[in-house]
C-alpha cells in the first residue's frame, strides 16, 4: 500500500456510516492530514500531489462511502480559484458550471464555505451568506441543492481559455475514482457477506454459482479501478489540454459508469433481500454507484463523445488513439 493510501485508509476508517450530512469530523481529519487539498498547488495551501495519488485517496473515499466534498473542494473549486488568481478560502467548497442565475444540483451547497461558479465568461466565488438554498438530493441522499445566485459575489475573474473544458474533465475524472472505489467497496462487502451467510448448510460463497457471480463482479471492479487509475496517470503525464487525457477520461467515466450497474446488481443479488432494505449498509455503496454513474456526464454521454471522436478520426486512427501513440 502506498503511503498516501495508508494515510487515507487510517483517516477514513474513522468515518461514520449513518446520516446524510457532511461528516464534519472526517472533514477535519482530511484537512489536518493535507488530504482535503491534495492536488491543489502548495502556493494555494494544497499538498501539490499528483492525480495518481488523488486517485488512490478518492477511490478509498468512494469505498468508504464517505460523506465529504473531496472532489469538489480539491479537484474543482480549489483549482478553479487558484488558477484564476483568487485566494482559496478555508473549509469545504463546491463548484458548478452554470450560465443562468439559478444553479441546479449543486453538490453539498448547504454544507460548504464557498461556491465557485464557472459561467461562460467568468469564475465567481460566492460566499454562502445570503444565498437562497433549496435542499435536493441524489439517489444516495447526498446534497444536490438548488441555489439562487445573488448580485453580490466575493471575487470574480475572467475565465481562462481551456478552463471550462478542463473543469468538465476534472469532474468526470474525480467521479470515476469515486465510482471505482464504491464498486470495490460493494464487492468487498459482498464477498464478506457470502462467507458469512449460511444456506443449505454452507456459506453461500461455497456455491459455484455464487462464486461465478462474484468473479464477474470482481472483473468489473478490476476494470473500473484500472480505468480510473490509468486516466489519472494520463492526466499527470499529458495534462488536461492533451487529446490523450480527454480520451482517457471519457473512456474511464464510461467504463466505471458501466461497471457500476453490474457490480450493484450482483451485490444485491448475492445479499438477497436483506441488502434491499434501508437498514442494511450495502445501500450506502449501491445507491452511490447508481447516482454517480449519471453525474458529471453519464456513461452514455461519454460513450457518445468517445465514439464521435473515434468515428471522426477514421478507422485507421483507432489503434493510435487507443495506444496514445499517433
Amino acid at each position: 500500500m502506498s503511503e498516501v493510501l495508508e494515510l487515507a485508509e487510517s483517516v477514513l476508517s474513522g468515518s461514520s456510516s449513518t446520516g446524510t450530512d457532511l461528516d464534519a469530523a472526517l472533514w477535519r481529519a482530511l484537512e489536518e492530514t493535507g488530504l482535503a487539498r491534495l492536488t491543489l498547488a502548495e502556493a494555494a495551501g494544497g499538498s501539490g500531489a499528483s492525480f495518481a495519488d488523488a486517485a488512490e485517496v478518492l477511490q478509498a473515499t468512494g469505498a468508504h462511502a464517505a460523506r465529504v466534498p473531496l472532489v469538489e473542494t480539491d479537484l474543482l473549486a480549489g483549482w478553479l480559484l487558484h488558477s484564476h488568481g483568487i485566494a482559496v478560502p478555508d473549509g469545504p467548497l463546491t463548484a458548478v458550471a452554470a450560465d443562468g442565475d439559478t444553479l441546479t444540483r449543486v453538490a453539498w451547497a448547504r454544507e460548504v464555505a464557498g461556491i465557485v461558479v464557472l459561467t461562460p465568461s467568468e469564475v465567481l466565488l460566492l460566499t454562502v451568506d445570503g444565498l437562497e438554498i433549496t435542499a435536493g438530493a441524489n439517489l444516495a441522499e447526498e446534497p444536490r441543492d438548488t441555489v439562487t445566485r445573488p448580485e453580490v459575489v466575493a471575487a470574480r475573474a475572467d475565465l481562462a481559455p481551456g478552463a471550462a473544458a478542463e473543469f468538465r474533465l476534472r469532474a468526470a475524472l474525480g467521479r470515476a475514482q469515486l465510482l471505482a472505489g464504491a464498486a470495490r467497496g460493494a464487492l468487498a462487502r459482498t464477498v464478506r457477506y457470502a462467507g458469512e451467510r449460511v444456506q443449505f448448510g454452507r456459506p453461500i460463497g461455497k456455491f459455484q454459482a455464487v462464486q461465478q457471480q462474484l468473479a464477474l463482479a470482481a472483473s468489473e471492479v478490476a476494470a473500473s479501478g484500472a480505468a480510473a487509475s490509468a486516466a489519472a496517470a494520463t492526466a499527470d503525464r499529458d495534462g488536461f489540454g492533451a487529446p490523450s487525457t480527454a480520451f482517457a477520461v471519457a473512456a474511464a467515466k464510461a467504463r466505471t459508469g458501466e461497471a457500476a450497474g453490474e457490480v450493484a446488481r450482483i451485490a444485491h443479488q448475492v445479499h438477497g433481500a436483506i441488502g434491499f432494505t434501508r437498514e442494511h449498509d450495502l445501500r450506502l455503496l449501491t445507491t452511490r454507484l447508481w447516482a454517480w454513474r449519471d453525474e458529471d456526464g453519464s456513461d452514455a454521454q461519454w460513450q457518445a463523445e468517445l465514439g464521435a471522436t473515434v468515428l471522426a478520426a477514421g478507422a485507421e486512427a483507432l489503434w493510435p488513439l487507443v495506444t496514445g501513440t499517433p
Binding site: 464477498v191 478490476a222 458501466e258 473515434v310
Partner: protein
C-alpha cells in the same frame, strides 16, 4: 464505515507506463507492417495467432529482431524486456498480421526453456526460435483432460536412456507444421491423494518414430487443430523438461504469461477496424462505438499493468485470470457489434474485407473463451483469490 477495502486482494496491479524507448520501436513495427500491407504480402485476418501461419513473415520478424526479444543474446535472442515484446506483439495483432507460426514458440517455449531448460536444450532450440525457424506446439489437453489437466493419462514409462510415451493429445494447435512440442505426461502412477504429483514435461520432436498427427478441422473447415497420438515414442533423458514430477508446477507457473497478453483482447481487433470503416459517415452509432472503445482502452491498460508486474518479477495469477475473462468476452462483443451495427452478412468466400473478417470471427468465436483455460475455470481462480474457496 468499517474498513473493508483491505480485505480484497488487489485485482489488477497499478498502471504501467511504457518506457520512452517504446515509441521508436512501435514506429518501426508500424512502418514495417504498413510496407508489407502495401505490397500485398498479407491481408488482415481475425484470430491471426491461431490461423495466420506464414513462415516467410515469421522469418522476416526474426531477421528484424522481433522474435525471442526477451531471450538473452547468448542464445540468439535480444535481451530486452517484456514490455518491448508487448509493444511488438500488440502492433502485430492489431494489424491482423500472420503470427501463428512463431506464436507458441515465442510466447511460451522460449521463456520456459530459459526457466527450466538445460543448457543443451536452450542451445538446441532458442537460436532457431529467435530466428523464426523453429515452431512449437503445446501438448497439454487430452480427450479426458481439458479443464481438469491433472487427469492427463498419457503415460511415460522409463526405459534404457530415456522414456517411452504412450497416449493421445488433442486440440494441439499447429502440430502439423511444428517441429516439436511440450508434452505433459504421467511419469509416476496416479495418486488420488495428490493428483498433481507425478506429472512431467517432455520435449517431443514431432518427427519422432511413433508420433502420428491427425487433423481436426475447425468450423471454418481450416486445419489448425490436431490429435497427436504417441505409440511408445522414445524420449531421451536429455529431452526431459525441468524436474521429473514437477510438471504441474511448471505448467501452472507460466499461466500468468499466457493469460494476460494482448492476444486475449485483440483476436477480433481487425474486424473492429473494418467495422469502423463501414460506419464512417453513418450517424447514430457513436454510443455503441464509444462503449466498445472504452472497454478496449481499459482492457489494454489492464493487460499492460499485468505485463509491467510480470516484468518486475511478480506472477499476478489473479489479475491475469481477470484480464483473460474480460478480454475474451470482449472479443465476442466485437462480433456482436459488427453484426448489429452493419447489415452486411458474413461471407466465408470473400477474399478479404468486412464480410470475410466477420465470417472468420463468428466461426472462431467459440474458441476465445475456451483456449488457455475456460472462463468458468478462470472465475474459479478469481473466487479462490478472493478467499471464497
Amino acid at each position: 464505515m468499517t474498513s473493508t477495502l483491505s480485505r480484497l486482494p488487489a485485482l489488477v496491479p497499478p498502471p504501467t507506463e511504457l518506457p520512452p524507448r517504446a515509441a521508436a520501436l512501435r514506429a518501426e513495427v508500424r512502418a514495417f507492417l504498413a510496407e508489407e500491407r502495401a505490397a500485398g504480402a498479407w491481408s488482415p485476418r481475425a484470430d491471426v495467432w491461431l490461423s495466420g501461419w506464414d513462415e516467410r513473415f515469421t522469418r522476416e520478424l526474426g531477421r528484424r529482431g522481433w522474435l525471442g526479444m526477451t531471450i538473452p543474446v547468448e542464445y540468439g535472442g535480444h535481451g530486452l524486456g517484456a514490455l518491448d515484446r508487448y509493444v511488438v506483439t500488440e502492433e502485430l495483432l492489431a494489424a491482423g498480421a500472420p503470427v501463428a507460426a512463431h506464436w507458441v514458440a515465442d510466447r511460451q517455449i522460449g521463456p520456459t526453456l530459459m526457466r527450466f531448460g538445460t543448457e543443451e536444450q536452450r542451445r538446441r532450440y532458442l537460436p532457431r526460435i529467435a530466428a523464426g525457424e523453429c515452431y512449437f506446439g503445446i501438448g497439454m489437453s487430452e480427450p479426458d483432460a481439458g479443464s481438469d489437466l491433472a487427469a492427463v493419462r498419457t503415460k511415460a514409462v522409463q526405459v534404457d536412456g530415456g522414456w517411452e510415451l504412450t497416449g493421445t493429445k488433442v486440440w494441439t494447435s499447429g502440430a502439423h507444421h511444428a517441429h516439436a512440442f511440450f508434452a505433459l505426461a504421467r511419469s509416476a502412477p496416479k495418486d488420488d491423494a495428490n493428483r498433481h504429483a507425478g506429472l512431467s514435461q517432455f520435449i517431443v520432436d514431432l518427427d519422432s518414430p511413433g508420433v502420428q498427427i491427425r487433423p481436426i478441422p475447425l468450423l471454418t473447415g481450416a486445419h489448425h487443430f490436431n490429435e497427436v497420438v504417441f505409440d511408445r515414442v522414445f524420449i531421451p533423458d536429455a529431452q526431459v523438461l525441468g524436474e521429473l514430477g514437477g510438471g504441474w508446477a511448471q505448467v501452472t507457473g507460466e499461466l500468468a504469461f499466457e493469460r494476460s497478453g494482448p492476444e486475449r483482447f485483440l483476436s477480433t481487433f481487425p474486424l473492429l477496424t473494418a467495422l469502423l470503416g463501414e460506419l464512417t459517415g453513418v450517424s447514430g452509432t457513436e454510443r455503441e462505438v464509444g462503449r466498445i472503445v472504452s472497454r478496449l482502452w481499459t482492457l489494454r491498460r489492464m493487460s499492460l499493468a499485468v505485463a509491467g508486474s510480470l516484468e518486475s518479477g511478480e506472477a499476478p495469477e489473479l489479475a491475469a485470470a481477470v484480464v483473460k475473462d474480460l478480454g475474451t468476452r470482449f472479443e465476442n462483443e466485437i462480433v456482436d457489434a459488427a453484426r448489429t451495427l452493419v447489415a452486411i452478412p458474413p461471407d466465408p468466400g470473400a477474399e478479404s474485407g468486412f464480410a470475410r473478417l466477420l465470417a472468420d470471427a463468428v466461426l472462431h468465436a467459440p474458441g476465445f473463451t475456451l483456449r488457455g483455460g475456460t472462463n468458468e475455470v478462470l472465475r474459479g481462480i478469481v473466487a479462490r483469490g478472493m478467499g471464497l474457496r
